[in-house]
Structures are given as structure tokens and as C-alpha cells.
Amino acid sequence: MQNPSPNVEPDLQADTLRRAAIDRSVKGPVLFLLTNGAFWLMASTVLGLLAAIKSFAPDFLGHASFLTYGRLQPAHINALVYGWGFQAALGVMLWLMARRSGQELRTGKSLMMVAAFFWNITVTIGIGCILFGGNTSLEWLEMPAFTWPVLLFCFMVFAWPMVSMFARSHRPEGFMISSWYLFGACLWFPWLFSTANICLHWLPSLGVIGAGINAWYVHGVILLFFVPVGVGAAYYFIPKITGQPIASAQLAKTGFWLLAILGGWTGMQRFMGGPLPAWMVAIGAMTGVLLLIPVLVVGLNHHLTTLGKHNLVAVSPTLRFVFVGSIFYPIAGIILALISSFWTGFTFQFTHAWYGYQIIAVYGFFSMVAFGAIYYIVPRLSGCEWLSVRLIRNHFWFSVYGIGIVVVTSVVAGLQQGGDLTAPERWDQSWISVVLNARPYLIARAVAWAMITWSNVWFLLHLMLMVAGLGRRSSAPTLLERHDDHSDPHLTHGAKA
């Protein structure tokens, strides 16, 4: 399925030429999206660092209105989601869809460039509005109401050609799980986005239901946009680089349909014990836990596909990022189950654990897979190879440790906060002791964001050099070779496994 099979020389050559033609056809929009996405990632990590510092030292950098935590934090999340997340996702999706459907992008390229341009303008204005007094306080929809029709239109400019490519190339005999996921993401997101925006901005006096819809939207974007794009990309790159077919088509299909069936129900458990009708909360909690099944099914399938090829994780930058991303995926699923079930959810409710979940889903899982994809895609589009192994390693290790610290400290801080708030024996303690108990975790979060900022400086620089065509002129890809292993015990370990 991955390789069209014939071993005949001319066929292979024709195939290579065809691939190069496809790559050329999507080059402009994909590189534009990925580079701008990387700039937004930089902005988001800096905002995340500032917000983390502000969360324990509110006087840091003075009392300017746009530097208060209530504005910085949503600006940070929106930059991460709409600035980086969506642009990286669309760039990776477009390249993958063109490759998987074996078609060149024929029309709509200039419209795509315009749409990508307007996406960036709109996100810039939107985040500016959050910082300077237009915050709507709707989670993940903090940008003012006028931004959403523009963003939706820009998204559709990309989604429509992808859907039609998929439709044209769909063959019943060739089962393409990664395209299924990408196709799903193209349908689910506009549906979610328009529903949430129309309800929250146009329907008056929704009250509690509005808060529920908002929570449903956030979970929906994670589970029905970022997850399908990440999983779809992992389903492409893991077999591609290990050279092994996907372990089980049966598992792949099961995972896809369970996600499709369960994903739309979850979210309202965020307000468990609250004023929402009990059945809405209960069904969200139930699906939040049941989602463990598709998550673990996908995890198992990826594991079985990688089995025996773990040495490649040490060598290939793409596989290394994708591999770590797909380890973060089941962990994200477990955190979702923990914050969703009534058993543990009341402890984690309204604590830092929620931030930990958002970060592991959007950064730990999705972005790591997207980085892996970028390390694969960009050399094929820019015609040069990544310059430096050291830069890639820096990016990898600082990202992994940074994200790991953010997630672990957030979840543990959540346990601490939740215990302080819900444990009957601590019911009459003063509020400031609750605040002080969470303080060390917030300091750790700031340190972690500083590490992530460091990693992203190098990633952005590296990517800009590549896009400018200043990469290595070589036909051999940049691999994380093993000859300087002594500096990195993990590599030797991985190679032995």
C-alpha cells in the first residue's frame, strides 16, 4: 500500500518524479503556513512564559493592563491553538492529503495564499484584542466575535480542495487510514466552530448551556481536530519510516470509528456537580472515560507498527518526534479520563490539571507529531536538507523535558489544589494557604516554558534557514547519527532496544 510495488527501475523513477511534482504543487501554501505557524509558536511560548511568571509574581514587569494574567493566559492559549496549531495542522494536512491521494494541487493555490495571509492577520488582530480589552472570556474563543467568520472561511479554502482530492482518489480497495482522519478533521472542525460561535455569539441568554457548549467546543477541537490530524500524520509517518505496514487495519478502523462516535459527546463533564442538566454532564464523563479505548487502540497499533524498528527512533528526527508524540497521546487520554470520571474528576475540577491536559493534547501530542512531519516535509519542498543535528537535538530534548515538566507539575498541582479544596479535613483552612501550596508548581511551570522557549528559538531559526533555501545541499537526509553517542546516553539505549 505504501509502495506501489513494482521493482522496475523506470517505474520507480516515474514515481519519484510524480512525488516531486506533487510536492512542488503544494510548496507555497505549505511553507507559508508552517513558517508563520512557527512564528506564532514562538509568540505563544513567550506569552506562556510571561503568563506563568505572572501567575506567581503578579507584579513582574509592572501593572500594565495587557500584562495581567487574565489577558495573557488566553492570548497564550489562542496563539498556541489558532496561530501555531491550526497553521501547522493545515500545512501538514495539505501536504499529506496531496501525497496520499497522489494528486497535484491544481487550482486554488493563490486563494490559499490569500486565505493563509488573512488567517494570520485575523489571529494577530484577535490576539491584540484579547490583550487590549476585547477578551470575550469564552474559552478558546476569546478572540472577538468578528474574527470567526474570517477564520472559518480561510479554513474552508484549505479544507475544500483537500476533501475533493480525497473524494477523487478514494479507492475502495486501498484503505487509507491517515486520509480518513484528515478527511474527518476537514469536516468536524467547521461544524464545531460554526456551531459554537453561532450559539455563543448570536443566541441570547444561553446561561449555563452556553458554558456547556463552550466546554464541548474545547474538547471537540482537541478530540476531533488536533487528535485526527496528529493520529493521521502518525499513521503516515510511522509506517513510512519504519518501512513496515500498519500492524492492523482492523485496529485502525476500530480506533477511527470509536473516536468519531465518542468524540462529539464529551466536554460538559468539565462542569460536573454544576448547574448543567445532570444527563449532559454524565454523558460527557462517560465518553471521556470510554475514549480511553480508541486512544489505546491507536497507541497499540502504533506500538506494533514500530516494533523491532526502535533503533530508527534514534536515527530519524521525524520518527523520533512522531514516536514521542504518540507516547504522549495515550498519556493525554489517561489525563482526560482522570479529569472526566466522577471518581477523580471532582478533585481535578477547576485546578491546574485542566491546563496540563490542554498542553499535553495540543503541544505534547499534536505539536510533537507536527514537528516530526515538518522535519520530513520541509526538505522535500525547499530542496535542501536540515543544517544541524545539534539544533534538532536541542529542539527535541528541550521540548520533551519542557512539556513533560509543564504536564507533570500541572497534574500534580491539580492533585494538591483539588485535595486542598475538596478534602473535608481541610475545609476551614485559609485561602492563602491553598495559593501557597500551588506556588512551587507555578514556578516550575515558568522554568519549563523558558526551556520550551529556548527550544523554539532554534526550531524557528532552523526552519527559517530551510525556507530561505540555505539548508545543506545534499541528497542525504540529516539523520541523528550515532557516532557521537557518548553525549547522549538515551540514544545508545534506544539503539540497543
Partner: protein, 229 residues
């Protein structure tokens, strides 16, 4: 092509079902809930539940400043949490309330376009902040917003200094001037006064009283539901 159609239909059906049942139907259904009148005999009081609405102008400031990032407005039932027992989280302001504050119901948020239930609880819950703050001087509430550290040294609440004006004191001391002392006080000859927005925000905080007694009619529903179990 049929396979493509099946996939599309499968995705549409699997997502369409929760979309319809969980979002569209409730969104339209619950838009029409109305206040319930108290029954003089059963409840011992007149009027309607909920009794008062949140201050709308101040809510805009609350939304704009992103207060929801750290403040929830949702008391959970006491079988799941200690929310109702925390000092100052209900109507009873004593250090150890005699009774747990009731959990919030849907009608408590009747006047709000989107209920501000909140993102996280870095600061205390504000569902019933109106009762708590009513005990304070209005200018003391302003001082808390202007310089949170003047109230609690380790507070991690940001200063909302941009909602206040530092101006040259002229004539007798203004009634509006914030009672700031020590390092929080402005330079000599100056005073800090709230802007209209700060006044609106305080009006809003004072209007947060989501612990009005539930009318028997609403309790009746709960009792019937409990009996049915």
C-alpha cells in the same frame, strides 16, 4: 464512490447525533426557562427566584479582564466537595458556617448570555461574592482590586491599577479615594480614585448572590426526582 459516501455519512451521523441532542436541542429548549414565583405559603416569601440579576455593565469589565481564568462562580453539591463549607463562599460569613451553601442551579445564571462558570480556581469562588463583599467598605473593595498585596502579602492576584486614576489631591480628601497605606499609598499630595469601570466592576461583584433560597416548586421537582429513584 459509494465507499466515500458511506464514510461521509458515517462521520455525519456519528457527529450529528451528539450535535443535535447535546447542543442544538438543549440550546433552544433552555432558552425558554423562566424565573419561578415564590409561593407565599410554602416558601414564606414573595417575589421571584432568582431574586436579582447580575450587574450587566460590570460583567463586561469582568469578562474583558479575563477574571474567569482564576475565579469560578459555581458551588458544587456538598456530597462531592467542600465548596459549600468554605468560609465566605455562601451567605453565612462566619468562619465555620452552620449549614453548607446550596449548590447552584440553572436559574441562578438566568440573566447571563453565557454563564461565567470559570476556568480554574486560583482565587476563591465568586458565586456568592456579593454577600462576602457587602461586609466590606466599598473603598476597601477598590483597594483590594488596586493593590491585592495590601490585603494578602502572598496573593497572586494581579493589580487592576489600570482601572484607577492617580490624581493630585485638591481641597478636602475625596470620598472616593482608596484607603491605601504604607508602600501601596500614592505619593504625598496624590490620591487614587476609581474610574467608572472600576465602579461597575465592584457593582457587579456586589450583585453576585447566587444563594437565594430555592422555591418549593423547584425543590419539589428535585424531591419527585429523588422519590422516583
Amino acid at each position: 464512490m459509494t465507499d466515500f459516501r458511506k464514510l461521509t455519512l458515517g462521520i455525519a451521523a456519528s457527529f450529528g447525533l451528539p450535535w443535535l441532542l447535546l447542543i442544538v436541542v438543549p440550546a433552544f429548549k433552555y432558552q425558554h426557562i423562566k424565573p419561578i414565583a415564590y409561593d407565599k405559603e410554602a416558601d414564606g416569601m414573595d417575589g421571584y427566584y432568582p431574586q436579582s440579576n447580575a450587574n450587566v455593565l460590570g460583567m463586561q469589565v469582568y469578562i474583558r479582564e479575563g477574571c474567569v481564568q482564576c475565579h469560578t462562580q459555581m458551588i458544587r453539591p456538598s456530597q462531592f466537595s467542600a465548596d459549600g463549607w468554605h468560609k465566605g463562599w455562601g451567605e453565612d460569613q462566619s468562619a465555620r458556617p452552620a449549614e453548607a451553601t446550596r449548590a447552584n442551579t440553572m436559574r441562578d445564571y438566568l440573566s447571563e448570555d453565557v454563564a461565567l462558570l470559570g476556568v480554574s480556581r486560583v482565587g476563591p469562588d465568586l458565586a456568592n461574592a456579593g454577600y462576602r463583599l457587602a461586609a466590606m467598605d466599598r473603598s476597601a473593595i477598590h483597594a483590594m482590586l488596586y493593590a491585592p498585596h495590601s490585603v494578602a502579602m502572598w496573593s497572586n492576584m494581579p493589580s487592576y491599577a489600570h482601572l484607577y486614576t492617580v490624581r493630585k489631591a485638591q481641597g478636602p480628601k475625596s470620598d472616593l479615594a482608596l484607603p491605601l497605606t504604607g508602600k501601596f499609598a500614592p505619593a504625598k499630595g496624590y490620591e487614587v480614585v476609581p474610574t467608572p469601570e472600576a465602579e461597575q466592576l465592584v457593582d457587579y461583584l456586589l450583585s453576585l448572590k447566587k444563594a437565594a433560597p430555592l422555591p418549593a416548586a423547584a425543590l419539589g421537582n428535585l424531591a419527585t426526582a429523588a422519590a422516583a429513584k
